[in-house]
């Protein structure tokens, strides 16, 4: 499977958990981490620099300036260039975690695919993830019933480890964002909840899916 990541921001809105700080700045550190993660998955990486919001307000990425192409056209061009058979992104109604950047990303992608010269499959991530802290606890659940479910307890032929362990592998490549408490929380997710839920956009968008308050 040929893979690529298209990431709209450099993540400068995130915290820095590195003991010695994030130098020269959090965006640079997280950009490097994105490179490390994409290298792990042998995926191509396209890293853009739209501003990362603080997680409260809707991002204003659609505002254009000068003769720069708008974000929808930009995303469409990158999809066209990679020419994937499947486009995978967030459901704009919940963004998995209700982060407004996730939700806007999903909305932009759905607009972008309308501009393509071909019709790739478009799947939306229908896993809902919630967090609690002190101690850190993750909860993974399907957004609705009846979704495609990838059982992350499956043993991958490439690594001979459960697919779930790929989360830990990825998080270890983002040390500015995830410390040992986050890694432990992933390992504490019940086996029955270890799954990734997807749905074709054309189907799931016709259904009522709980959004964000």
């Amino acid at each position: 499977m040929r893979c690529a990541f298209l990431i709209l921001t450099r993540g400068e809105g995130g915290d820095c958990l590195l003991l010695n700080g994030c130098h020269p700045d959090i965006a640079s550190v997280r950009s490097a981490e994105a490179g490390s993660a994409s290298q792990y998955f042998k995926a191509g990486l396209i890293l853009l620099s739209y501003p990362n919001t603080a997680g409260v307000d809707k991002p204003v990425w659609r505002t254009t300036s000068g003769d720069a192409p708008d974000v929808v056209t930009t995303v469409a061009h990158y999809i066209e260039a990679f020419h994937p058979s499947l486009v995978l992104t967030f459901d704009p109604r919940h963004g998995t975690t209700c982060h407004p950047d996730h939700m806007e990303t999903g909305a932009i992608v759905l607009d972008a695919v309308k501009l393509l010269s071909y019709e790739p499959d478009v799947d939306l991530l229908e896993t809902r993830v919630t967090f609690a802290f002190d101690p850190t606890v993750f909860s993974f659940a399907p957004a609705v019933a009846g979704l495609q479910r990838f059982d992350a307890n499956e043993i991958l032929t490439s690594t001979q480890t459960p697919a779930w362990s790929e989360i830990t592998q990825d998080m270890e490549r983002h040390p500015s964002q995830f410390d040992d408490s986050w890694l432990a929380a992933i390992q504490n997710v019940p086996f029955a909840d270890r799954a990734v839920y997807l749905a074709p956009a054309r189907d799931i968008l016709r259904q009522q899916v709980p959004g964000c308050q």
Partner: protein, 62 residues
């Protein structure tokens, strides 16, 4: 869904709509592997949520 199971449901007295609903739910792990995929996200690290799927990136086996 296997043909025999589908047939058995039909003969077990399910209505057509009930059968259609059951057939719409794939078996666990029946997520087809695409030829190529682009994951489009907002932030570095968002891919952690789909990392179990990304483990199927074929180039890793090369």
């Amino acid at each position: 869904m296997p043909l025999l199971l589908t047939m058995s449901l039909l003969f077990a007295g399910f209505t057509a709509s009930e059968t259609a609903r059951l057939r719409a739910v794939p078996h666990p792990s029946d997520v087809a592997t695409p030829v190529s995929v682009i994951w489009i996200a907002a932030h570095p690290d968002d891919e952690a949520i789909v990392a179990p799927l990304l483990g199927k990136c074929a180039a890793r086996r090369g």
